[in-house]
């Protein structure tokens, strides 16, 4: 045996002996407590040995590493049905499999999958032609639409779109396809005769849902994120109204103090449009969660005749129904169904009652309707529990069945709209839905661990990212504001939070989390294992829109990179190492994981130093800075860097600043920098 091998074996034996020895054992416990402080409560809270038995070393050292040894054995064969369409003869169901990159065609007579058609990455939604011959699938991570020949079961032509195509809808003549591009915040108008994108229209911020009115004259697109507002102004989120005749934006209307509008549907008479929305209370301290005041969930109603807009609560005074996703209305216009992807429920609404409430609001008989949680009993007739994370829904043409994509149980629920009972399930995969990481994914998307089920992790971190809002996380209003950060690619980048106080995700999601944020019992050790495992093992950034994998930097990006790494100012003066961009933002995550004072603290902050944020896909994370003060990357240097504390940049010309930003836009997944 070689000497080096002997030394390695001796080293391993030494470490094992150290760990097994008294000092090593105590060091292990200290390390464990430091990394996971406070996350285990109850009877074993003061028993160090019991705690370590509950939260095993393996949790941190295997699952929570993206390329850890055990992760390769994790279950990955999920379908994750996301959105649905049904053929006009009600014989076939079309299902996008978000995690399997496929479109599934289900025979509704036998409830069997008859075709699995590979499409692009992260398929989001599907629309089907009236004759059932063609299906159009948005590939959110491929920036394209796949045109599927249904009879042949093949995806043929691929049409380029904007970034992150999500919802889509055909016009009534099936000549144009409207696609909501989430990441580029616009709408692709695709000429189906030519098979190309004919134009792109500016939409709201992160549009996802899109639908066409029954008369075919207008298209409505709803957005997830608020438009960029003045600092500390409440969010307002756009509904983009497109004239289907001119294919131009005709109107931009906003729901005030609301965001995360995922889907939109019309009453059959076309007088009302319905959307799901979230009403965040991000401007008041989050401690008010115990007063039911962190966020509420509502139905947004738009009168297309009068232009009036209403927000009607979907919650009850002591029970919340988190993360409403889809809304579907029966052909007779009597009932609406809303999927609560965080609450695992379907809410059934009586639309006649909704109309009565609206009339009373108009007459001034109901005031402050959007915050009156008692109001929901007037129009919500039933809550129907579902499997995990119900997302997209589609109504059968006769209105007798509602198909529900239960994303995290890989099933399609079939609801009888007459009896309001779930009458059967269509299984989409045989993957283990209780495997550790899947369990973590379910927990992440579920509101069951917050006080009165007020919200889930998803509520502030939609799509494992962030919601673009700044929350007031201190006890005192306006202090220690916290701009929500992405959860993508966190593994190995501790510590966390803007103040860098949490040394691990365990600490972030443990007891401290329940004390300050969820106001309920902390996660059990098993659930915490699963949740942390999910957060740190799987979540990736979408492909960068400004630089594809393997692509060379453009000239502007290359110049920007030189500025990012420069050591001298334009006039030749040396830039101190700490004032160089690259020092605090080194690849692969472009963070040194340390705290720095970059001159951005205000007199309302309790800290002057903030943890260096990641820069991967930073273009998806506006607004910027710890308190969300900067609406654009430019403002970081043109407005908030007077003293060059956030890197020496005041000598840069406008061209150089533009180049620097071009480079920042091009910084993609950390994978490419390892």
């Amino acid at each position: 045996m070689k000497m080096s091998n002997r030394l390695i074996i001796l080293l391993i034996l030494g470490v094992l002996l150290f760990l097994m020895g008294y000092r090593g054992y105590n060091w292990s416990l200290d390390h464990y407590e430091y990394m996971t402080i406070g996350q285990v409560t109850g009877d074993i809270a003061n028993d160090r040995e019991a705690k370590i038995a509950a939260l095993k070393c393996m949790s941190c050292h295997t699952y929570t590493q993206r390329d850890g040894f055990f992760l390769q054995f994790a279950e990955k064969d999920y379908t994750s049905p996301y959105n649905l369409a049904v053929s006009s003869d009600n014989r076939r169901l079309f299902v996008t499999g978000q995690e399997s990159n496929a479109l599934y065609i289900v025979d509704l007579a036998s409830d069997r999958i008859i075709s699995k058609i590979p499409v692009g990455d992260y398929p989001h939604s599907v629309a089907v032609s009236r004759d059932g011959q063609k299906a159009y699938v948005t590939n959110q991570w491929s920036n394209s639409v796949s045109v599927v020949d249904v009879d042949n079961g093949t995806a043929g032509k691929t049409i380029k779109t904007g970034g992150g195509p999500a919802g889509l809808v055909l016009d009534h003549d099936e000549e144009f396809l409207y696609v909501a591009n989430t990441y580029t915040s616009d709408i692709s108008v695709i000429d189906l005769n030519q098979g190309v994108e004919s134009k792109r229209l500016r939409a709201g911020n992160y549009p996802t849902g899109i639908n066409i009115s029954p008369d075919g004259r207008q298209v409505l697109a709803v957005s997830q994120r608020s438009v960029l507002v003045e600092y500390r102004d409440p969010p307002k989120t756009e509904i983009t109204v497109i004239d289907a005749g001119t294919r131009r934006v005709r109107q931009r209307i906003h729901f005030e103090e609301a965001h995360i509008m995922e889907k939109v549907d019309f009453s059959p008479s076309g007088d009302l449009a319905f959307t799901t929305l979230v009403r965040p209370k991000n401007l008041v301290p989050a401690v008010q969660v115990e007063s039911g005041w962190m966020m509420t969930f509502a139905l947004g109603v738009i009168s297309l005749e009068t232009g009036s807009m209403y927000q009607l609560p979907l919650d009850e005074p002591n029970m919340f129904y988190a993360d409403p996703f889809d809304v579907r209305i029966t052909p007779d216009g009597k009932q609406a169904f809303i999927s609560h992807s965080g609450g695992d429920y379907i809410s059934v609404l009586d639309i006649d009652k909704v109309r009565e409430v609206i009339q009373q609001i108009d007459e001034g008989l109901i005031l402050n309707a959007e915050n009156d949680l008692m109001l929901s009993e007037a129009y919500i007739t039933k809550r129907i529990p579902t499997g995990s994370n119900p997302k997209g829904m589609v109504m059968s043409p006769d209105g007798n069945r509602l198909y529900i994509a239960e994303r995290l149980t890989d099933r399609i629920g079939v609801l009888n709209t007459q009896t309001l009972e779930l009458e059967r399930m269509i299984t989409m995969s045989s993957a283990d839905q209780q495997a550790l990481l899947r369990r973590g994914q379910q927990l992440f998307n579920n509101s069951g661990r917050t006080f009165q089920n007020q919200y889930s992790c998803y509520s502030c971190h939609p799509n494992d990212h962030e919601d673009g809002l700044t929350y007031d996380m201190d006890f005192y209003p306006g202090e220690d504001l916290s701009n929500v950060q992405t959860l993508r690619e966190l593994a190995g980048t501790s510590p966390f939070k803007w103040n860098g106080n949490n040394v691990s995700i365990y600490m972030q999601c443990g007891m401290r989390f329940s004390t300050f944020v969820t106001r309920t019992e902390a996660f059990s050790p098993e659930d915490l294992n699963a949740l942390v495992g999910y957060i740190t093992s799987q979540i990736q950034h979408p492909p960068n829109l400004y630089r594809g994998p393997g692509e060379e930097l453009t000239e502007a990006q290359r110049r920007g990179k030189e500025l990012f790494e420069r050591t001298r100012t334009n006039d030749g003066r040396m830039i101190a190492e700490i004032d160089q961009c690259i020092t605090c933002h080194p690849p692969p995550h472009f963070t040194d994981r340390l705290k720095h004072d970059v001159g951005t603290a205000t007199d309302r902050d309790n800290h002057t130093e903030f943890l260096t944020p990641h820069l991967n896909n930073i273009y998806e994370s506006a607004p910027y800075l710890h308190d969300g003060r900067a609406n654009t990357l430019e403002e970081l240097w043109t407005i908030y860097n007077d003293d060059d504390l956030h890197g020496v940049a005041n000598d840069m010309t406008k061209d150089q600043l533009n180049d620097l930003i071009e480079y920042l836009l091009s910084i993609g997944s950390a994978e490419y920098y390892k």
Binding site: R200, E555, E662
Partner: protein, 406 residues
């Protein structure tokens, strides 16, 4: 030794062939090519400027392909001032947008629709009250507004602001904006911008990133996947979107205060506006008008043509007719015939002068444009709107120039 001599001879041969090829291809004109606008020098390190072939031919025999279209004569002038609802009589620009008229004044944006004026000011989201330029994107219908302090995209009633602090805009003083589907082009005092509305990326063209002599840009337009930039003191830059390369058009004689040969190239480097229509580039300068058909230039001065003043603030072109905003009346020109419109001092009447070569016809009209100092204008179908330093004027086509008039 023999091998080395052979290699040397071969190199000489290749070099000679390259020089011959270079001379052959550059015999007509010299093209200045830049790499995507990102470098200010060519491979040889020289920023050469283009000089058109000098062809001193008789101007009057040359006619455009579409010159057969009749030259319109406008009249029935209708004047709008503050008394009619304008926020100010200083009207910088005007744009016809389907059923409405967008008017840029020094006190806000005025919109005439259904005979009603609506005024928009910074309180509504306008970047600055002094509106300098307006354009409408034909694809989206979005209105782009250049002001003295930033740029707006006005889309379906919502103002979105771009400035040099929150975006890649080169400078907040936006003299002209041109919307062309995916790209919006902006002329500012510190260079020109191309804003990619699909990706939200900004590109700056200035003296550092393009062969621009000076970054002060007064005019910009885009057509056929190219952009034309009127750089004050730097002539005209043509940017090709496909290749990312520039051509530069400069005044070949280089004289600031005189024009030796009007047709030797761009008439003057002090350019104020550009328009492209039917294969013809029109360039307004403070020292005359330039016209370029892709092969040769024509220059026009006021002493030997119908042009009423060489001080031209802006140029537009439509259906092979150029519309010129001068400090002494509104001029139109189709390459052969001039029709100019002016006020008559001390009278409410106006005068219309039709000139073709030596022939001239003067018409006295019952109505007149509101002021002879013209800032800008826009035409659509048989209607023209004129922005002047005192009021806004609307005219309609009242006839066409034909041989019987002259």
């Amino acid at each position: 030794m023999k091998t080395n001599i052979q290699k040397f001879a071969l190199r000489i041969l290749i070099l000679a062939a390259a020089i011959i090829a270079l001379l052959f291809f550059s015999s007509g004109f010299v093209i200045n090519i830049f790499d995507d606008g990102d470098s200010s020098t060519t491979e040889t390190g020289l920023a050469e400027e283009i000089t058109a072939t000098v062809e001193l031919e008789n101007d009057s025999v040359e006619s455009d392909e579409n010159a057969s279209q009749p030259m319109p004569i406008y009249g029935n002038w209708q004047v709008f001032t503050t008394e009619d609802g304008l926020p100010s009589n200083k009207v910088n620009t005007v744009k016809i947008d389907e059923g409405r008229i967008l008017v840029g004044t020094d006190r806000g944006l005025a919109v005439l629709e259904n005979n009603q004026w609506t005024i928009y000011t910074p309180e509504d989201g306008l970047a600055h009250r002094n509106v300098l330029s307006i354009d409408v994107d034909e694809d989206s219908g979005d209105v782009w507004i250049g002001t003295m302090d930033g740029l707006n995209r006005w889309s379906a009633g919502v103002f979105e602001r771009f400035d040099q602090f929150n975006s890649g805009l080169a400078n907040n003083v936006v003299y002209e904006v041109s919307a062309d589907g995916r790209y919006t082009w902006i002329a500012t005092t510190a260079g020109a911008n191309r804003y990619d509305t699909y990706t939200n990326q900004w590109k700056i063209f200035n003296e550092e990133t393009s062969p621009m002599h000076e970054p002060w840009c007064y005019g910009i337009t885009s057509a056929e996947n190219k952009a034309y930039i009127a750089a004050w003191g730097g002539g005209v830059l043509e940017y090709n979107n496909d290749t990312g390369t520039f051509r530069v058009y400069r005044d070949p004689d280089g004289h600031f205060n005189l024009t030796l040969f009007p047709d030797d190239g761009l008439i003057h480097d002090i350019t104020t506006g550009v328009a492209f229509d039917n294969g013809t580039l029109w360039v307004s300068t403070y020292f005359g008008l330039g016209r370029y058909n892709g092969q040769r230039w024509w220059g026009y001065l006021d002493h030997d043509t119908g042009l009423t003043s060489t001080f031209i603030n802006a140029v537009k072109a439509k259906n092979s007719v150029a519309y010129l905003a001068t400090d002494y009346g509104l001029n139109t020109f189709d390459g052969t015939t001039w029709v100019t419109y002016n006020t008559i001092d001390g009278s409410k009447n106006g005068e219309t002068i039709i000139t073709n070569g030596e022939n001239e016809e003067k018409l006295i009209t019952d109505s007149a444009i509101s002021h002879r100092f013209i800032w800008n204008m826009d035409v659509q179908d048989d209607v023209i709107w004129v922005a002047t330093s005192y009021g806004l004027t609307r005219g309609v086509v009242v006839g066409y120039v034909d041989e019987t008039i002259l």
